[in-house]
């Protein structure tokens, strides 16, 4: 507990059990708040939401065995989205390890493929040292989840705690920070010679808190900017040079610009398959500058012509400085912008408005934008609603959009909203949920009520696992297989059963007003919004196709 306090921990999410009883006993006297969640997966995602909203390390506790294995999805999620998190699990007593004791599970072994690092405590005196190392590894370099597994008997041992005075030093862990100056200079010169450049940014810019630095680089010339779903908000969606999100459900403009670009500057992004589509036909005319803090990402999927390893917070200002010094002529981008503007005009995001009060899902996102002033912290589940939010909400600031991009975890949104609201109590926190996803972690409504965490859940209810239904419709001859969610629970009554407020809206004319009521109400509110059941999320690049073969 002393070690956690020394790391500046103010909030922890978790559930007690047999193997972490000593830890929970110590919590009674601890000076930080413990948020008792209702399922360990919820605790794990809450820690992620906390970290994503605040940039600080999120912490979750679980007991041994099933408590620990329930955390696994959240740990994998934090790995794929590079979320700074520390997971502390109880383990059975030392003498029981390896005997298949009650509630024993090898959580360290189970999570090896998707932790940034993990520690198994074998001596109680290691605990303070390991806690500090865990926070150091989780938060620095490319952030990620760290697991600390503590057997019950060792966590109850009395040890001397001496406050740490030295910074953490790990022989095998030296995260890079400042970039190679020469590489930055070459990159600036390449950018100066590009006729059709584009900046492709990702979650790394947000993790590095480098939004300002990105905006300065963009302002240094007329560079068009696009971003992955993880990087939304780093450059404002209302900005002049914004092309919209790229990738599978990105805008045609962003994807066509990538396809025709002669120079792609990737910043904190990792050329995931949802971005590249068919790899052999990805951006065939482009050369690549790849800026990343993780050297292993560079040339992993797409070979980089100019690799730059470093923290975007330091790389971007250096690149801006070098670029400005070259005093290039902005007129050389004239042709490129003409082409981009033509795409924007021809292929804007669009949808048909519903008739007779039918609520189109895209309209729901636009209504949400108006009701929240466009500046809420929005968490989301995974599926169509997530993509519509990414397309239509228009995030102008970083750390406002919290979703599960890499692992694509349904049920992420509500617990993540719990974490975000705990981290940012003054902010409006909205969970945009899908009906297929929300039910997977709806028990966390109990957490919202009992712990007085007033998140607002806007449920986009179409009665389907919508994205899977869309794929079955488009690519599997409309043979719907286990995608109907009905008969669904009565979400209003369910919210009320948990002690929250439940509202329903079935008319587009009343939607914004209902949302405003939910936002004004005290305490947690769930709004069941009935949207068109079979609307498809377009445009899209079919899986394995090339960007220029977008449909819809």
């Amino acid at each position: 507990m002393h070690s956690l306090k020394a790391e500046g921990v103010e909030h922890v999410f978790g559930i007690p059990g047999g193997a972490n009883l000593p830890t929970y006993d110590a919590l009674v006297d601890a000076e930080f708040r413990h948020i008792q969640v209702r399922h360990e997966q919820g605790g794990g995602h809450a820690a992620e939401g906390y970290a994503k909203a605040s940039g600080r390390v999120g912490v979750a506790f679980a007991t041994s065995g099933p408590g620990a294995t329930n955390l696994v999805t959240a740990i994998a999620d934090a790995m794929l989205d590079s979320v700074p998190t520390v997971f502390i699990t109880g383990q059975v007593r030392t003498e029981l390890i390896g005997t298949d004791g009650f509630q024993e599970a090898d959580i360290l072994g189970a999570t090896l493929p998707f932790v940034k690092h993990s520690f198994a405590v074998t001596d109680p005196r290691q605990i303070p040292e390991y806690v500090h190392e865990a926070f150091h590894v989780a938060a620095t370099g490319r952030p990620g989840p760290v697991l600390l597994d503590i057997p019950q008997d060792l966590s109850r041992a009395d040890i001397e705690y001496a406050p740490r005075t030295e910074p953490v030093e790990l022989a095998g862990y030296k995260p890079p920070s400042a970039p190679n100056v020469k590489q930055v200079r070459i990159a600036a010169k390449a950018m100066a010679n590009a006729r059709r450049p584009i900046l492709y940014t990702g979650g790394g810019v947000i993790n590095a808190n480098a939004s300002e630095e990105l905006r300065e680089l963009v302002a240094a010339d007329r560079f068009p900017v696009t971003s992955t779903v993880m990087g939304l908000g780093a450059y404002p969606a209302s900005g002049e040079q914004w092309l919209g999100m790229l990738g599978m459900h990105g805008t045609r403009t962003a994807n066509y610009a990538m396809d025709e670009a002669d120079l792609i500057v990737a910043i904190g992004a990792r050329f995931d398959d949802r971005i590249t589509g068919k790899l052999s036909e990805f951006a065939p005319r482009a050369k690549f500058i790849h800026i990343d803090i993780d050297p292993a990402e560079i040339s992993k999927n797409v070979p980089a012509h100019i690799p730059i390893v470093g923290d975007a917070k330091l790389v971007l200002p250096a690149l801006t400085r070098e670029y400005r010094a070259l005093q290039t002529d902005p007129a050389r981008h004239e042709e490129w912008w003409k082409r981009i503007r033509a795409w924007q005009e021809e292929y804007p995001l669009h949808y048909e408005q519903g008739e007779d009060g039918e609520i189109k899902p895209q309209f729901m996102i636009e209504a949400m934008h108006r009701a929240t002033g466009g500046d809420a912290i929005v968490t989301s589940d995974v599926g169509q609603h997530q993509m519509w939010a990414a397309q239509y909400y228009g995030f102008d600031r970083p750390r406002r959009w919290i979703n599960s991009g890499g692992l694509g975890t349904m049920g992420f949104g509500l617990p993540a909203a719990v974490g975000a609201k705990v981290a940012c109590p003054e902010e409006t926190v909205v969970c945009l949920a899908g009906d297929g996803s929300l039910i997977m972690n709806c028990q966390e409504l109990a957490t919202c009520v009992s712990q007085e965490i007033p998140v607002k859940v806007f449920l986009m209810n179409n009665g389907y696992m919508g994205m899977v239904r869309q794929w079955q419709e488009l690519f599997w001859d409309r043979r719907y297989s286990s995608v109907e969610m009905g008969p669904s629970p009565d979400w209003v009554k369910l919210a009320e059963a948990f002690g929250a407020t439940g509202l329903r809206c079935e008319d587009s004319g009343e939607l914004e007003e209902t949302m405003a009521r939910a936002l004004d109400a005290d305490g947690p509110v769930l709004v069941d919004v009935r949207v068109s059941p079979e609307e498809n999320c377009f445009p899209m690049i079919p899986a394995g196709a090339a960007a220029r073969d977008m449909v819809g």
Partner: protein, 181 residues
């Protein structure tokens, strides 16, 4: 103007280095001697689909540090990506991709061969040519220890196999850099 930075960078002149070296690589990896380290290294290889040809683990002169020597095929795997992924493991301290010309690599193998009276002397002659040692003898078999490069061991195997190879045990290669470095 800093030395080595070109005046102009023309996009059409930018090239990416080749990803595959096309030869066998020996990676010599120093790791912290902690529980689970081998599982982390082995898990990384299986997860990323990197195929290990041989793997040898042993102590170093420092009891807190172990050495993992592994060989893999650079025609199949981008070695650069392998080493970068390995470097991300916190328990991995140092990785050296051993240069073939500047490396002494050795492997040990033991062969148990059927050896009736008629062919016993021929097998023993092979052993002599390969500077191998007979380490066990029974009525119907000989056990021979061979040390050398992987090529030498494979050559010996080819010679001995027609006589009836009962069992073969190999350690996997270990390697050290030539010279005082």
């Amino acid at each position: 103007m800093e030395a080595g930075t070109p005046q102009v960078v023309k996009l059409e002149e930018l090239r990416v280095p080749g990803q595959l070296s096309g030869r066998k690589h020996i990676l010599s990896i120093l790791v912290e001697n902690k529980p689970g380290v081998l599982a982390r290294v082995a898990g990384l290889f299986s997860r990323r689909g990197f195929n290990i040809d041989t793997l040898a683990v042993g102590p170093t002169d420092d009891p807190s540090i172990s050495r993992i020597t592994l060989t893999l095929d650079g025609a199949v795997h981008p070695i650069d990506q392998v080493t970068k992924q390995l470097h991300k493991l916190v328990n991995v301290l140092k990785i050296r991709d051993m240069e073939p010309e500047e490396t002494v690599a050795r492997e040990m193998a033991m062969f148990k061969v059927s050896a009736a009276v008629e062919n016993r002397s021929e097998i023993m002659q092979f052993a002599e040519v390969f500077r191998a040692k007979i380490v066990d003898v029974s009525r119907r078999s000989l056990t021979i220890e061979v040390t050398g490069s992987a090529d030498k061991i494979e050559a010996f195997e080819r010679m001995i196999r027609p006589h009836g190879l009962i069992e073969m045990v190999r350690t996997g290669e270990i390697a050290i850099a030539r010279g005082s470095d």
